[in-house]
């Protein structure tokens, strides 16, 4: 294993590519929820920035940032996957265990990115149609 650089089979970027999307979604979810709860509590409901309600604007900004990061993690996973596919058959068999495992991580990472991109956007969609601080009445 000494003569071939196999560091790409095991480095933090591969981990980020695999598990980054759900972590980003978790942070995004917490942030948008707290933004609404806090925003409504401190009176942001009546504040507007460039004609957009401040609560809505912060939710949308957080969503754009989260979506961007998730796409980024998906790209990282995809590029790792491509790199693995481009290995020679000799390298594939020499590092079979590592290659199979890294491919598994990359595939999971790509799928997570797609799934959680959908989830992030779907969660934020109501911000386009609902007023920020109306209390749900039975």
């Amino acid at each position: 294993m000494q003569d071939v650089n196999t560091s790409f089979l095991k480095n933090p970027w591969l981990n980020f590519g695999m598990i980054g999307a759900p972590i980003i979604w978790s942070v995004h979810f917490l942030i948008v929820w707290l933004l609404v709860e806090f925003g409504c509590a401190v009176g942001l409901a009546n504040t507007h920035w460039f004609g957009v309600n401040a609560v809505h604007a912060t939710v949308l900004l957080a969503t754009v940032a989260a979506a961007g990061l998730i796409v980024f993690s998906g790209i990282i996973a995809y590029r790792r996957y491509q790199r693995l596919q481009s290995l020679s058959s000799d390298e594939q068999s020499r590092f079979q265990r590592e290659v199979e495992r890294a491919r598994f991580m990359a595939v999971v990472g790509m799928a997570f990115s797609v799934l959680f991109l959908v989830v992030v956007i779907y969660v934020a969609l109501p911000a386009f149609v609902l007023p920020p601080c109306n209390i749900a009445n039975l």
Binding site: V36, E98, R101, V107, V108, F112, L115, L125
Partner: protein
Amino acid sequence: MAATGQPVNDDIFEYVPDDEFDDVWNPPPGLWGRLITVQNQYVGMRLIFLSLLMFTLAGILALLMRLQLIRPENNFINNETYNELFTMHGSTMMFLFIVPLVEGIATLVLPQMFGTRELPFPRLTSFAFWTFLAGGLIFYASFFFNSVPDGGWFAYVPLTGPKYSPGLGMDYWLLGLNVAEVGAIAGAIEIILSFFKMRAPGMSLNRIPVFAWSMVVMAFMLIGAFTPLIVGSLLLEFDRKLGTHFYNPEAGGSPLLWQHVFWIFGHPDVYIQFLPATGIISTIIPVFSGQRLVGYTAVVLALVATGFMSFGLWVHHMFATGLPELSLSFFSAVSILIAIPSGVQIFAWIATMWRGRVRLETPMLFALGFFFIFVLGGITGVMVGVAPFDFQAHDSYFIVAHLHYVLFGGAVFPIFGGLYFWGPKFIGKMFNEHLGKWHFWLLFIGFNVTFFPMHIVGLMGMPRRVYTYQAGLGWDIFNLISTIGVFMIAAALLVFFYNVYRTFRFGEKAPDNPWHADTLEWGTPTPNYQYGFRRLPIVHSRHPLWDEDKSIHEGTPEEEALVETLALWPRHYRAQLIVTTLDARPQEVVRIAGPSVWPVVGSVGAMLFSFFLIYDWVIPAGISAVVTAVSLILWHATNRPDRPEDPAKVAEFERRTGVPVVGPKSPAMNRWTMLLTLGSLAIVVATLIFVHLYLRVESAQWPPENITLPGPLLPGYAVVMLLAGAIAHFWAATGYRRGEMSRLTTGLIAGGVLGIAAVALCVYHGTQLSFTAQTNAYGSSFMVLSFVVLGTLAVGVLMSLVTAFWAIRSDYSVREYDYVQDIALYWYAITAFGLITFAVLYLLPYFI
């Protein structure tokens, strides 16, 4: 196929027969030996039987409730008793049945499924069992002391607060269940460490069985969900016993805060119970279809995704409490989307059966029963995830039907399937197939007869948790049918218990692999050795017993040399292999702990501590706490081998295998354990910060009237000292890595002294404040958050100074001080906690 195989003889590492291995791994003889055993197979069985006992107790309570509801205006049970029954039933099922049962199955099965010998910390496993038992005993002792909890399994305040529940019932609930929850977390830590670090060589991340994936996701969720619940429960107990005001609206507290903290636990808990069950299904279906699981990667992805998303649903239990529509819609969206990963698993199972040839033996019947019931429960779950429908169905029998379809169908059926599946391997005898089928059909029909009518009666308007109802509302016939169904369920369970009894007593001897299964636990002889695999297998695929042509012990020359040598030596203690996290390359050989009475003593101490606190007997409670603390110290101090190994053999082993023998102090395990500890502490601090911020959001004025905002100067100095302490620890850790022991000692002492100064400064600052924890909710959350952060700092100081003391005395070899790097990690984390807490308590009020 070769099972454990016979190790070859060797010039240096003399061959010993299996009997000698048994002496090291089996429990000591006699009743005492059985008491102090920590072996995973014993503890796993005990957890399973304890959970089944709890299930039976809770089932009897349900039977009594259904008898009361068999006809309108019945007076079999009065309203107070009915409240007690549904509280005990729900709480037992949620806290004392499924969680310990799935942890029991994991404890029993995982080491052998991973192709290894034991879980990483057997004494912690034992502690998990004894604390579960202790928690259950306290909880059910409430019947004997006439203080049965009656506030529901959700314990909503203000009903359960000091004003409306002045009796001791809720104290039994809070303190008893907290003890059991500690056991749950202990079990979860074992599962996580085992999953990542204790697998057979070659079992890389993509070759780990799906059952293990489901268990590790469950274990992470358990730590993430139970920790906030323990914190929230303690805060409620503080309200009841110490006069704090977290949930008291008259002093700035919030009853809704409890609902948030409870459901942050409560909804993931549904998946904590469901995901291991899906892992069982993903194990049973391929075996009984003779077909590899279709979509392994997709199923793993679904498990992990469900684990994450389940933490974004909790507010759907609070749709009717009057929240902002927008935040409510966030939770509604996730409640609907979580059906995607569940659907992925369902389709993977259908495809597996489709491509295979299904054998309808008892475990498979339970898997199919799960399908039918869980899909119905999932559909009604999506329905109640939609807020307008939930407004209509909330608190009605529709919800009772839904949750039983999800939990009984989604968890209990697969668990029974799992017991029939793995039972023969670990009991050593086959269950009676005929009785198994009777059990299934009675349970399946009885379940649907009981719970399906509840959908209808719920939509007709029958509220849940009522002890009786008027005649003429159209509910009578449905309630009668439900009660008849419960008797069928009871009959099913009687058949099951008879089958268990019959199997133990008269069952046929089980073959090594009666189901022709694919995973490694079936690669050992039946009945199993306590050490699982003497000669470890080497894994090349996800289905080792289906795919290996010759022997499961063949691999690279290095790995073969390792498993051969490890089968011979070390043999005076319980040796276990640690592997790298991703690729399962051999990393270390560690010595794991043997039998000990101290986990038992520690659990008894915890039980008595909680019990005495219920009655405000402070001195006995203090003594019990000391007993627990001392037993924890002795638990570690007594973890020594009977005789030391020959250093020449250690050197030869390391030369031959390239794997270091590290004794009980494994650097890899220390790092993981520290990370898990810090993760749990972070959740505690995050929960308390959430509590503080939530109370701020609910308050019109912050800090409340008559309270001056505390000045940031003194705590600011303390934070600077904390930062300096972290730098000192960084210096110590880097010094250790360079082999400079003097730097290690100086850095630890400097960091410890700075920590003491920071604590002293904060304590002095606390005496100058104009409020206490009893003043109002602001004071309560301010003080408790500060106290917890200072407590973590005090622990850090203790670790650093004790280690510095040992280093000065040269008590251990240099290699054994590797854990100083973990102490440094701890200091970085508590410095972060300190900084964030300082910002929240002292700076944030200037902005919001």
